[in-house]
């Protein structure tokens, strides 16, 4: 079988081996080309090293080519099915490659404080007086959510303006948790990082972590923004 690392617009192959030391080659006769390695079998329990190997191969393609990374674990039966796949989805792949050309992905995780002081202005009128503990909880939570949303917008909006595209990701149940990916032109990466530092200083109680540049994993599917 062939393990596929990514699709590119050039036949340039990465230096260094792929998964489990297998040689990595380019397949196809016109763009997009697929970068893959041949394996008799792959372990059912991949480990961290395998993840980093996949990542290293894709990163090795990033300088000089435009690459669409594949999801980890993407395999096809043989060269014929790989070529058929490239042929079948050529327009989609070419349009996605065009969308990410010249840009890299930066990841941002942030935690903003959403402390929950009681809000004395809100009480339930009439009847039995103040609301029960359930109501109080919900109101407090609503309040915290609003404050967190505001703080998160103060982070996300200026960063999104520096990016070509952005994708906010589910941050879990904590209203103050924020996670997003930004597709940023290569020449604006430093500017983006500097902005992250400024925001960390400006927004009280915010912790912001930026990693990358990553291959455009979060921008490799149509409809995903």
């Amino acid at each position: 079988m062939l393990y596929v690392y990514g699709l590119t617009d050039s036949t340039r192959e990465p230096e260094g081996p792929g998964l489990h030391g297998a040689p990595v080659c380019a397949f196809g006769s016109q763009p997009p080309f697929a970068i893959a390695s041949e394996h008799r079998d792959l372990p059912a329990h991949p480990d961290e090293v395998d993840l980093w190997t996949h990542e290293r191969v894709v990163e090795g393609l990033m300088n000089g080519s435009t690459v669409l990374p594949m999801r980890f674990g993407s395999t096809v039966a043989d060269e014929a099915s790989l070529l058929a796949l490239l042929e079948e989805r050529r327009p989609e792949f070419l349009s996605l490659i065009g969308r990410v050309r010249g840009a890299v992905e930066l990841s941002v995780r942030a935690q903003v404080t959403a402390e929950r002081e009681p809000t004395p202005s809100i009480t339930t009128g009439g009847g039995g007086g103040a609301g029960g503990p359930g109501t109080t909880y919900l109101l407090r939570r609503h309040d915290a959510q609003q404050r967190a949303d505001e703080a998160v917008s103060r982070i996300h909006e200026p960063l999104a303006r520096l990016a070509r595209h952005s994708a906010r990701k589910a941050g879990g149940l904590d209203p103050g948790a924020f996670k997003a990916a930004y597709l940023v032109d290569r020449e604006r990466v430093e500017e983006f990082r500097a902005r992250v530092d400024e925001l960390t200083a400006e927004i009280e109680g915010a912790r912001i972590v930026c990693t990358g540049p990553w291959p455009p994993y979060s921008f490799s599917a149509e409809g995903r923004q």
């Binding site: 596929v4 990514g6 699709l7 489990h20 030391g21 792959l42 329990h45 991949p46 480990d47 961290e48 090293v49 993840l51 980093w52 190997t53 990542e55 290293r56 669409l68 990374p69 594949m70 999801r71 980890f72 674990g73 993407s74 395999t75 096809v76 039966a77 099915s81 796949l85 996605l96 990841s107 995780r109 942030a110 935690q111 503990p133 359930g134 909880y137 939570r141 990701k169 941050g171 879990g172 149940l173 904590d174 209203p175 948790a177 924020f178 996670k179 992250v196 530092d197 960390t200 200083a201 912790r207 972590v209 990693t211 990358g212 990553w214 291959p215 994993y217 979060s218 490799s220 599917a221």
Partner: protein
């Protein structure tokens, strides 16, 4: 060929031993290579993160955050090809299980950072009521 059955058995045993020895040696070579990859890649990654994040305000362990981001991206992002994926869904689940032990240490950090998918999220704690 179809002569002495004892000789045939001996030959078969010899072949089996040779095959075992061969595969043992292959495993050793593969293990050494993986160790080497792990070291050199790990070191390069650390060095590159070091460079990337110089001068920024960070109290977090870069490597752990990078690993979280890596897992997020490789398992949830990227081009998805349908039909021909031979890594069964069950295997992907197993991969998650396998990664969980590794990620467990990272989850503490994730909670600090508030990326928070766990039940320890403050909003779920009973005393929030």
């Amino acid at each position: 060929m179809n002569g002495d059955p004892e000789r045939a058995r001996e030959l078969a045993a010899l072949k089996r031993d040779a095959a075992r020895e061969r595969s043992r040696r292959q495993r050793e070579v593969a293990a050494a290579r993986r160790d080497r990859d792990r070291e050199s890649w790990g070191a390069r990654r650390e060095a590159s993160l070091e460079r990337q994040h110089q001068g920024t305000r960070r109290a977090l362990r870069d490597r752990d955050v990078s690993l979280l981001d890596l897992i997020d991206r490789l398992l949830d992002g990227g081009v998805v090809i349908h039909g021909d994926i031979t890594l069964a869904v069950a295997d992907v689940d197993l991969l998650y299980v396998g990664l969980r032990a590794m990620v467990a240490s990272v989850e503490t950090l994730e909670r600090d950072l508030g990326v928070s998918l766990s039940a320890q999220s403050p909003s779920l704690r009973a005393d929030a009521f």
